[in-house]
Amino acid sequence: MTGGLPAILVAVAVATPFLAGILILVTGTRGTEVWGHIAAAITAAAALLLAPTVMAGETVELLVVPLVPGLDLLLRVDGLGLVFGLLASLLWIVTGVYSGGYAAATALANRRRYFAAFAASIGAAMGVAFAGNLLTFFLFYEALTLATYPLVVHTESDEAFNAGRRYLLFSLGGGLALLTAMIWAWQLTGTLDFVPGGFLDQVAGTTLVVLFVLFVSGVAVKSAVMPLHAWLPAAMVAPTPVSALLHAVAVVKAGVFAMMRVLGFVFGPVSLAEFAGPEVLAALAAITIVIGSLIAVRQDNLKRRLAYSTVVHLSYIVLGAALVAPFGTVGSTLHMVNHGLAKITLFFCAGAIYATTKRQNVSELTGLGHRMPWTFTAFTIGSLGLIGVPGMSGFISKFFLARGAIQAGDMVALTVMLGASLLTATYLLPIVRVAFFPGTKALGGRGGRRLRARRREARPALLVPLLITALLVVVFGLVPPAFGVQYELAADIAVRIFGGGQ
């Protein structure tokens, strides 16, 4: 479907955050967040209004402008794009509130730059979600890199600049691989439009392999597959709301989203069956899962631990897509959402803890559950969700990922997935344990009473968002209509890619 109200909604969803960014820069010294809140509401509303049309099986198209003869700036919303767009825009609302609270609690400097870059990042993520062809996708993918750079270096410390440089080098380097692959694919096929099931069926042999390597190495940077993951832990130097929304949801999910686009809508199952590329990618993802988990266990800095956990769970999604099996794709799509919900909760908690107590290391959290019970309850829910305990949203996505592995007959992948869930438990649950059950020594006597007496929760602007996202983790795990809708969308995507074969 082109034109009409849906097309306007697409334009609104992508343009609003950018406009908000400009407004924030141009206007106020005070109330910079207000524009962000308004824009977040509009963007999310536009994305939600698009949902019925897309779920009815239609795609919404909007041709913006031709860029190269035969190649347009084209926005198109399909199921996969909608999932990512909804995720980014809805979580922007909560993160907006949280950011305001965090900025107030930590006396954040340069707020205009911060909120403007934040808004622009969401705009770029929406553009990535709704891109109809590779060129449009590339445009927003690069914009996403550049819009998040000011956030990475926000603290203006040397550490931040090093992280920023590394981030640029990795991301824009990957962008160049993607650009080359894209031009080459265009010359070979004459199209760059995303097609369910891929458009490279005319290409074969070495060319296909080289294209695969270029495409995948281009998008593997943002999805942090080892050995291209190093920028992500370094980027944790950014303020926590940035880590929460961008480095757990928008940016890295743009990476795995890109991976799913490339595998499902550029190559497609038929082309992927011709060579061993997907197996190699799956192996890399599996290695990332194992090594990432082992590194995460050793991190004392809470945000770094969560960052490595993100690396691990992104590779879950990549692995699911690389299985080239319908259930794997379903699982990946679901995990894109469910990991996002769980991880943003965990990061929100980390930020709330830091903003309230200035503590950022796991070893300093002993007994803190008694001081900040709500925060640590949410942290517990987020952890359980990420581990994939039944009743939490993470269970459903991991269930389908595992089913995908069985469907593909890949027992190694299955073992890695299940084993890494245990590892997830080993690096998250100890935090919960020491926070709530620091042992009799710490709790007994005068010290323990003091601990309980100084009960000081995070301020409401920090607490409410993290409780909402924690609640969502449970809702999407327990309430049938909620995960039903999710599953329908994901299944529809898989059906389109694999051509009806469930």
Binding site: V68, P69, E142, G173, T180
Partner: protein, 488 residues
């Protein structure tokens, strides 16, 4: 079609230069006013001419009514009309924007400065419109003499830089002239079109030597690696107003001249010669892309950094020309305009930073932080365009050249472009990092440049966005007709 329109492009700035020099001695400010009016007139004529050419085809003038081979032919085809319009418009914007620069740096020498700028402009226009190999040499010398003078007017180190520039520039011009001599010996004519038709029957040894000499000469003028050595010193030592005018225009016009000579003179000749010439140009371009950008990254002086960046961007142009397919040529021609816009904006901004904030080195740019929001925004746009971020115009230049390289399966060139782009990320963020994120080393010194500078910078940045977003139109309307007919 015969018309007098083309020659006006040369005559207006040339005569205005003479008039301005004389009147300027007697009337204060007259030199500046005459210059601005003449530049505006040239820009207006060039745009008019561009649309006429696209509408009714190439315009020819036979000087003094003598047809070639005796007379000099002046020619506006879609390519020269496009380049002329680019140069004239960017030239006008830059001169208007740099009024404050020239006032601050050359307080008592404005009388000489403005006529020199006009003389340089007339030389550049002459190079663009001439259809004669020897006249091309004359115009190069007109432009170069003005340029040497402008560089020498700068502060500390300028005379030395100008002398360097003079020696290397003259060497380049002599190489070119020697090459013309060989071609004349081989074909007996100097008119480009006639040479092109006669080359196939000419003595190939003469043609080969002549071709290599001419390409070498023009490569020197466009600052193509390894003949770029005059450029960083010249553009960093020249008065900022002069640098802001020369850096975006001089090397660009020379790049055009190289394309003109390669494809309108030699490509019609023997295959051996043009293959060899193109190959040399392409490899030199690839080397320039990599080394220019890497050297730019290693600079501390802001304007040296920008000059090396130009070396890299001219490498992209040369690489596109050397690849010689329609796609890469599109990129090469487009990138001439791109770099003119980008370097115009960046050198204007650099000049403002020096005059108002005392910024010479990249790290000192932190002094502008928060004080010059418009300039900062323009630098961001120009910088991202340099890296090649869509949808800015710089992206599309790289897109087409890269496409051309992939089309020919020249993977070494693909890698060179990628490395160059990554190095560009490095040097652009060396500028953006202090500008936006580093604490300034002193308190606020000054405010943004005057309104003329801001308007000029914003105009250039807007053009980068417009040419990027409207790139499809740019290609189909302006560049495709300008491509040499012989490439498929």
């Amino acid at each position: 079609m015969q018309s007098n329109l083309p020659i006006l492009l040369f005559l207006v700035p040339f005569l205005a230069s003479m008039v301005g020099a004389i009147v300027g001695w007697y009337v204060r400010h007259a030199a500046r006013r005459i210059a601005l009016v003449a530049m505006a007139a040239t820009a207006g004529i060039s745009i008019l001419a561009l649309f006429r050419v696209l509408e009714i085809g190439s315009l020819h003038t036979h000087m003094a009514g003598w047809p070639p081979p005796i007379g000099i032919e002046v020619l506006l085809d879609p390519l020269s009309a496009f380049i002329a319009a680019t140069i004239a418009v960017v030239g006008l914007i830059v001169v208007a924007g740099a009024v404050e620069h020239s006032g601050a740096e050359l307080p008592r020498r404005k009388v000489v400065y403005y006529p020199s700028i006009l003389l340089l402009m007339s030389g550049l226009m002459g190079i663009t419109i001439t259809g004669d190999l020897f006249n091309l040499f004359v115009q190069i010398e007109v432009a170069s003499l003005a340029a040497y003078g402008l560089v020498a007017a700068g502060g500390r180190g300028a005379p030395r830089a100008a002398l360097n520039y003079l020696i290397i520039g003259s060497l380049g011009a002599s190489l070119y002239l020697m090459g013309v001599g060989f071609i004349y010996a081989a074909t007996g004519t100097l008119n480009m079109a006639q040479v092109a038709t006669l080359l196939a029957e000419a003595d190939q040894r003469l043609v080969l030597v002549g071709g290599l000499l001419m390409v070498g000469g023009l490569a020197t003028k466009m600052g193509l690696f390894p003949f770029h050595v005059w450029m960083p010193a010249a553009y960093s030592r020249a008065p900022t107003a002069a640098a802001a005018f020369m850096a975006p225009l001089v090397t660009k016009v020379s790049a055009y001249a190289l394309i003109r000579v390669l494809f309108w003179v030699f490509a019609g000749g023997a295959l051996l010669v043009d293959d060899l010439l193109l190959e040399v140009v392409a490899w030199a371009g690839a080397a320039a892309v990599v080394l220019g950008s890497v050297l730019a990254f290693m600079q501390t002086d802001l304007r040296r950094l920008l000059a090396y960046s130009s070396v890299g961007q001219m490498g992209v142009v040369a690489l596109g020309a050397g690849l010689a397919n329609a796609t890469a040529m599109t990129g090469a021609i487009m990138h001439i305009a791109n770099d003119a816009l980008m370097k115009g904006a960046l050198f204007l901004a650099a000049g403002m930073a020096l005059i108002r904030f005392g910024v010479r080195n990249v790290d000192e740019l932190a002094r502008l932080r928060g004080q010059a929001p418009w300039t900062m925004a323009v630098v961001v746009v120009a910088g991202l365009s340099l890296i090649g971020i869509p949808p800015l115009s710089g992206f599309f230049g790289k897109w087409y050249v890269l496409s051309g390289a992939i089309e020919e399966a020249r993977w070494a060139f693909v890698v060179a472009l990628a490395v160059g782009s990554l190095a560009a990320v490095g040097y652009v963020f060396r500028i953006l990092e202090p500008l936006f994120f580093r604490p300034p080393d002193t308190g606020p010194l000054a405010r943004e440049g005057n309104w003329a500078l801001v308007v000029a910078c914003v105009l250039l940045a807007t053009l980068m966005i417009v040419l990027g977003v409207g790139n499809e139109r740019l290609v189909t309307v302006f560049i495709m007709p300008a491509l040499p007919g012989l490439v498929p």
